[in-house]
């Protein structure tokens, strides 16, 4: 999946201390400081988080967390409320800047990145509270995801013939494919503010998909959905991962979903990592059970 980018992400080359995950009781470890290391799955590392610490004033939201995300996998981030999951996504996105630690994306380490740079380098996300453009229609919202790929200048925009029009139509076609895939064609002209919550989340997914990202961050995509909606959403996520080869990191509370969808899971609690590995393994870890699950399923 290629993204047309302006290549303007700011990268700072920083020496990263070799990170070890030795203190965590898990099976798989990846040394994130060496890019593109083939793991036992044969997949390359897409993103690695090393020793990231994030505090707000005196409160430590994230404390010394390291993990990685392999290309093409579905990585679940789970943990009790307040564990720092959303903050973690915000850090990956460039919305928050960690006081310590490094994020390495596609082998390039970066410290302070602005959100639009993260978008330009191929990271898209959805939000817990649905950050749609409420004044615009479904179609316009999904089209807004194509913003980075549209370049025609002011002159052609003013005339709206020729190049600007062609570009608009070209992207419209792409967007309609996404709309078909997500089965939201029947509401494409409706203002999103009027849609029910479940559909809004779907539109948000569509908007993120329209960016054709390499890494898609989903913040509780199933929140507030019934079983049927969750099945639909799971179908879309799997489809994204299978057909479009998008790497996905998702925050999720429903353990059933996590077990079914995720290749690997990372568990957070009070800003620290307490589990990292395939779902079955994490589920058995006593630390995780104590912190979160209560009862092993």
């Amino acid at each position: 999946m290629t993204t047309a980018t302006a290549g303007d992400s700011k990268t700072e080359v920083s020496t990263t201390a070799g990170s070890t995950n030795g203190s965590i009781p898990d099976g798989s470890t990846t040394d994130g400081s060496i890019p593109d290391v083939a793991t036992s799955d044969g997949k390359a590392t897409l993103l690695s988080v090393e020793n990231v610490t994030l505090s707000f004033g005196g409160v430590k939201a994230i404390e010394d967390i390291s993990f990685d995300i392999l290309e093409g996998e579905i990585r679940a981030i789970i943990g009790p409320n307040g564990a720092g999951k959303t903050s973690m996504l915000n850090v990956i996105n460039g919305f928050y800047h960690p006081q310590q630690g490094t994020i390495t994306f596609r082998g390039k380490p970066r410290r302070r990145m602005r959100p639009y740079e993260a978008a330009a380098s191929g990271i898209a996300r959805t939000f817990q509270n649905v950050a749609l453009f409420k004044g615009m229609s479904t179609l316009d919202n999904v089209m807004s995801g194509r913003s980075l790929k549209m370049h025609r200048g002011l002159f052609w925009q003013m005339l709206h013939v020729g190049p600007a029009r062609r570009e608009e139509i070209e992207h419209r076609q792409r967007v309609e494919e996404i709309i078909d895939f997500l089965e939201i064609a029947h509401i494409r002209k409706q203002p999103v503010g009027k849609l029910p919550y479940g559909l809004q989340k779907r539109v948000e997914l569509g908007r993120a998909m329209a960016m054709e990202p390499d890494l898609l961050l989903l913040d509780e995509p199933m929140a507030g959905m019934n079983l049927e909606e969750k099945e639909d959403m799971s179908r879309y996520i799997i489809g994204l991962n299978d057909e479009f080869r998008t790497t996905i990191a998702l925050i999720e509370h429903d353990m059933g979903v996590v077990m079914d969808l995720a290749d690997r899971v990372v568990v957070l609690d009070y800003g620290r990592k307490i589990g990292d590995g395939p779902p079955e393994e994490v589920q058995q870890s006593q630390q995780v059970i104590d912190a979160y699950l209560g009862v092993a399923r």
Binding site: F56, T86, N90, F95, F127, A131
Partner: protein, 323 residues
């Protein structure tokens, strides 16, 4: 070339200060004048803060309320009533005004975004302005200062080989303003209603869910703002006549609010003083360089510069955006 730059730097950064301190009694006079107009700006800003603090609404009509209150007072007196009766009746009128506004405007716009409410107050300004001009006439009127028992005349203070003149009414204005601020401050932090007001400012729905009656609170707050407007109107009118020109001056209160923060009562005072004194100093000592008339925009430019460095004002809360 260098000579020109030095000359220019001198004019801008050195000469004005030299001027200032070469005539210290005049400087004191200017500072006092600035202080006084600062107090009055602060009073106008106070009305804004009251309503904003309690309802999140930026009441654009505050300025015209000042004019309106003063006009009602003067007209009632002109109809033959003794000053204190007229004052009491005006207070009553402002109470009715608050009730009407709450009923007709605010109640219908409860869940709308702030921008809509702001624009509603802009509409309200027009209505009050039109009605005021219609019923009271547009000519400037003089305030019934003496009848209200406010001091007139002035005192001289001999200092620095010169004289500084203090108008008694200005001193009274300062004292009254301080009293007003102090009592409002106490009201907000110590009383039950004050607490309710703060709750409402924070979150309408949450306040509703703990049983606070929004309608009551809003009516109270607008009434309080009306009283502040009345006091402001009296003070302003005592110094210069009551006219609709005041409305534009009220826009300056916006700059005051930026400096002091939109929700802070002490901030309104500090902001008012900063703007008042700063404006006067700038006009007197730098004004001639620019050809005068800089008072028209100085306050706003000051606010603008301030905003660039501290978007929440001196006393406001830091806005942390969460996604």
């Amino acid at each position: 070339m260098l000579a020109i730059v030095i000359e220019w730097l001198n004019t801008l950064f050195v000469a004005p200060f030299v001027d200032m301190f070469s005539l210290p009694d005049f400087l004191l006079q200017v500072l006092w004048e600035g202080f006084v107009s600062g107090v009055l700006y602060a009073l106008i800003a106070l009305g804004f803060v009251l309503i904003f603090k309690a309802s999140g609404v930026f009441n654009f009509a505050q300025g015209i309320m000042v004019v309106f209150a003063a006009l009602v007072l003067v007209s009632l007196h002109a109809m033959g009533m003794p000053a204190w009766v007229a004052l009491a009746l005006t207070v009553g009128v402002m109470g009715i005004f608050a009730l009407v506004v709450e009923r007709v405007v605010l109640r219908k716009l409860v869940n709308q975004p702030d921008a809509i409410l702001l624009m509603a107050t802009i509409g309200l300004t027009l209505v009050v302005k039109g009605a005021g001009q219609l019923f009271f006439g547009g000519e400037p009127k003089s305030m019934i200062t003496e009848e209200l028992g406010l001091p007139t005349g002035s005192s001289d203070w001999e200092v620095f080989d010169g004289i500084v003149i203090f108008q008694h009414i200005d001193i009274a204005a300062a004292v009254i303003a301080i009293l007003m601020v102090a009592s409002l401050g106490v009201f907000f932090s110590k009383t039950r209603i004050g607490r309710a007001l703060r709750a409402v400012a924070d979150d309408h729905q949450a306040a509703l869910s703990v049983g606070i009656s929004l309608n009551q609170i809003w009516a109270i707050v607008w009434f309080a703002a009306g009283i502040v407007a009345l006091v402001t109107g009296i003070m302003w009118g005592a110094r210069s006549d009551v006219s609709f020109a005041l409305e534009i001056i009220a826009l300056k209160a916006l700059a005051v609010l930026i400096l002091g923060g939109f929700t802070s009562i002490p901030g309104a005072i500090v902001g008012g003083l900063l703007v008042g004194i700063g404006e006067k100093l700038f006009e007197v000592y730098w004004g001639p360089i620019f050809g005068g008339g800089v008072e028209a925009w100085f306050a706003y430019v000051l606010a603008l510069v301030f905003l660039l460095f501290r978007p929440q004002g001196l006393f406001g809360e830091r806005i942390i955006e969460r996604v």
